[in-house]
């Protein structure tokens, strides 16, 4: 399959994530949308990694080019997991105090 398909799919997923973050009001759903953005990036990185590897294989059959794209994906996963830890605990802390995860509630700081 040509690389454009993967790029398009990843961009579409990413945009769904961005729109979700900007329009939804539930903190957990916003959080899920952020994860969706990260996973769109993962998909794109793996696709590019394969593409660069395929290009390099044509000239050198033992080439390892493009491997760093896949490595990056692991880093993103690890960091995303750490972020989930912190993020969910912040949301839980919020819920304990206000009994709501609605971000519309969050306008005490304005003015």
């Amino acid at each position: 399959m040509p690389i454009t398909y993967y790029i398009t799919l990843a961009i579409v997923l990413f945009c769904i994530g961005v729109v979700g973050v900007l329009t939804r009001r539930n903190a957990i759903i916003i959080f899920m949308c952020i994860e969706l953005m990260l996973n769109a990036v993962n998909l794109l990185l793996v696709a590019f990694s394969k593409m660069h590897n395929g290009k390099a294989l044509a000239t050198n059959p033992t080439s390892l080019a493009g491997i760093d794209g896949q490595l990056f994906v692991f880093f993103i996963m690890v960091v995303a997991a750490a972020e989930v830890c912190v993020g969910l605990s912040i949301i839980v802390m919020m819920y304990r105090n206000t009994h709501s995860v609605d971000v519309n509630f969050l306008n005490r700081l304005k003015n």
Binding site: V21, F75, R108
Partner: protein, 456 residues
Amino acid sequence: MNTIILSAIFGVVMMFTGIFISNRAAYKHVAAIALLVLLVFNIYETHGFVLFNVNADYFLHFEKFGLLFTSICIFSTLVYVLLSGKDIEKAGANTAEAFALIFFVLCGIGIVTSYTNLLMLFVGIEILSIPLYILTGSDKRNLKGNEAALKYFLMGSFSTGIMLMGIALLYGAAGTFAVEHVASAGMLSYLEALGMVLIFVALSFKVSAAPFHFWTPDVYDGAPTVITSFMATVVKVAGFAAFIRLFEGRLGTMGSQTDRLIAIVIILTLAFGNLTAVFQQSVKRMLAYSSIAQAGFMLFALFAVNDVAKEGLLLYAAAYSLATIGIFAVLAKMDDMTFEGFNGLAKSQPLIAALLAIFFLSLAGIPLTAGFFAKYYMLAAIIKTNHYIGLAIIGVLFAAVSVYYYFKVIQAMYFKDGNIVLAPVTNSFKYLLLAVAVIIVFLGVYPNALLSLLYF
């Protein structure tokens, strides 16, 4: 490399300190000693002494600019811990962990000042941000703190997502994550241009440049005052180090369109920051807006990327961090954070009022303070590029606007009467504040003391 490894170790040490030492007042001293060790080893590394000889050239490259920048950040943190350590104890129940998180932030700073690889940029920014989300929410019972933490977290991870998309697109075009390769490509393909813009947007989020600044006032206002002090100074300045490393080799090839983009961001940042700060009632919130305005000035370095700009950024980092840490240290001791709260400070605490006045003068960029030379170098850098000189004029105009709101505090301290409510301050606090003011005035008279460290 010394900083990255040692600060991670010290972070863990601080957590164990929390288990084995029950005296909360001792944590501050342990942290201060550890920071001093960190500072010494980081300065040693500038002279070529490395504790751990790790070959990480593909990921990290340590040179004088980055190391000096890290030294400034560590020194500011040391000053911050010495001045505000007592208030950190009050901010949350887990003091030792708060110090540990500060060390982890420093580890991230060590990475973002010396990365050569986009992977390390991402990892560094995350190591820097994640502890901050926790610190922001460290006062668990405080609703405003919770709200600030959630807002900061959502905005921070959203911008991380955007940055990752940018990195992925750059990788698609270049086939490598190495910064110098990304930087050396001649003509930009669509992927690269889009990728660079996305990374630019994400980093603008982190340093709160307009139009991506909207989270800053809320978060800075809601977080405990001590934590705001750390966020608004050390961490923000580190964001600029990351920024300038990425754009160093890039700008020459990117051409006039990116120049225009950065110029617009600079003007918006200066305008939003300064004009909104004028109308604030609370000094804490005013400082949040002023930090946006100062970010606008630091962005000049990004626009110019020449030697003068790098020197200026170093000086700006030192001047801005030290002055703001000093102001916040006093602010954390006050109950009433409005301008009226400062009424009559000069009568009851003449020394503190005088030192605060020096800090505010430095932020406003009045000669004989470090802030003056910082702004001077930034403007000189812009003029040296020989185009967009209008930017320098706009910068000066907005610097004049900033004088208004900084002087409002000085006016309240000296020319108005009121009953000031200040938590008791020790003599050591006063002397330390005096030392910070002396450093600021010294850098304002003789900035080369700092800049000559870049060349030896």
